[in-house]
Amino acid sequence: MHRKILLLACALVLGSCRKGEDMPATFYDCQYSHTDSSAANPEGGAYQAVLDDMVSSGVVGVTMSVYHAGTGMWTGAAGMADLHNGVPMKACNRSRMGSTVKTFTATAVMMLAEDGLIDLDDRIASYLSGDVIDRIENADRATIRQLLQHSSGIYNYIQSTAFQTASLNDLVREWGPYDLLAYAYGKDAYFEPGTDVRYSNTGYIMLGMLIEQVTGKPFHQVFAERIFQPLGLGMTRFAASDPVPDGIVRGYVDLYSNLQVIESTYFSGWDHYTADGGLISNPYDMSVFLRALMNGELINAASLAEMLTWRTESAPDPEFFPIAYGLGIFKIETPQGTAYMHSGDAIGYYANMLHFPDDGTTVVYAVNSNYGKIDAFVSTREAMERILAGTR
């Protein structure tokens, strides 16, 4: 009897293991082409060594683009795109870019301001109403500029322990904007609008709603029409229309901080429908976007100057670079010089894009694994310094 119970328990534990999806290697083929001079890049070996070092430390897979005015664009990859099917990562593979989308959101808002459809110093309450304004502290007084610069003081829903446990409880749930905003309802604001800066995803959800209110279109359609398509970003899309598109690399999380990862490709449902996350792209496209933005190809010089007007936080994170906040972009001082940057997380994915204004060098990298011990190799100050030291 005891043996039967033991066998039943073992079968229960062992038999309930979720397997990975079988995918042919062609699933990860890239459907775009550009002139690739990576093989001839004299620094290519050094760049590749950076990626190989990340993978040998515990990153599952990584893609990177490095652009220098003198040597042009280099793209490379290391590690695996799909562990279950044994598919190596390719430089062109698309991945989740998480909060890097905020720079796109800010760019779209700046375009609407240039069109005369909004004024950055208008209150967001002039465009949105209902619970978004009534139940979120400071929302009635915050301006569009303050939302862009994270100076509204509005509570960041992602910081809510209730949200964090709820998202873990239903890892494949798809969250709409109001589902997420509800975690900011009734929460104390961090400070009076305009008196400090502190990162808030909530504000960027509201900016996505603003774009939709003003244009009458889904905000991601505005991204596609005014940014993706004009720049020819063939591997870039927003998750809402197809949250797990063909060719997206599998994501992995080190949930228990022991470099034992599980697949998380379908776990980013809070990152699919709101303008604070949800971007899917690759480092090549992201580099094209960031350089076009900084070169004044997307917005005019006056708008760019407003984006690059900085405010510093009163309580910087002692473990990261001191951050100056622009409109949808940050400035940090690295050992390699001043960089404009934005990074982003999704569950199982991390991306970072950096632009050095002194010479135009642009570095973008994306990994398909995060959390736990892996973050130390991709997103900490030490990790960024190590990566930048090898690329600049």
Binding site: A9, L12, V13, S16, C17, R18, K19, G20, V55, S56, G58, V60, M80, L83, H84, T161, A162, T165, A166, L168, N169, D170, L171, V172, Y252, L255, Y256, S257, N258, L259, Q260, V261, I262, E263, F267, Y371, G372, D375
Partner: protein, 200 residues
Amino acid sequence: MRNAFLLALLALSPVLHGQARPLPIAVSVFNTSTAVPYTRFLTTPVHPGVQVGTEFDHRVRECSRLFQSVYLNYFYHKHLAQGIGIGSELGYEHRVWRGLVAEARFGLGFTHTFTTAVEYTFSNGRYERKGDRGNARLTPSLSLDLAYYLRRDDRNAPKVFLRYQSWVEYPYSPDFIPVMAHINLHLGVRFTIQRKGSDA
């Protein structure tokens, strides 16, 4: 941690063997969720669990009872983990009205969890599929029960109960998520069986 598990079994064995007749058995099914305790009641999606245990009394009075429980349980949290647990609770039962009683339980358990997905382990510079040896956690808990004895003056009568339990897993993810909180909602029954053998 395997030693801790064996020690826990040894510690519980006198309780199991020393139980006087009749032997109470408590069986419950429960829904577990990662959630902040006392912020939610019934959560979805349902992540099922089952628990079996017994109890022995420390002190019995007309309207109250102080007791110890021991239990074994299993839960399956879809996409996240499944766990097997063992533990003990110190409980206080108070008769509210007729057969209706309220209980509070403080517990300490040991749970071993296994991922419900294929796990890849970093080894020799690459990820490989290896057997999942799982993760060991302590699970301190606090439970509040509302229960009803089907025969109000008989403490050996069958009792149905609804249990709102909060437990935390510790350590959960060192240097990342130190503690993970759960809400478990149990629906169960406690009944007694007559033991045939003599007391140990």
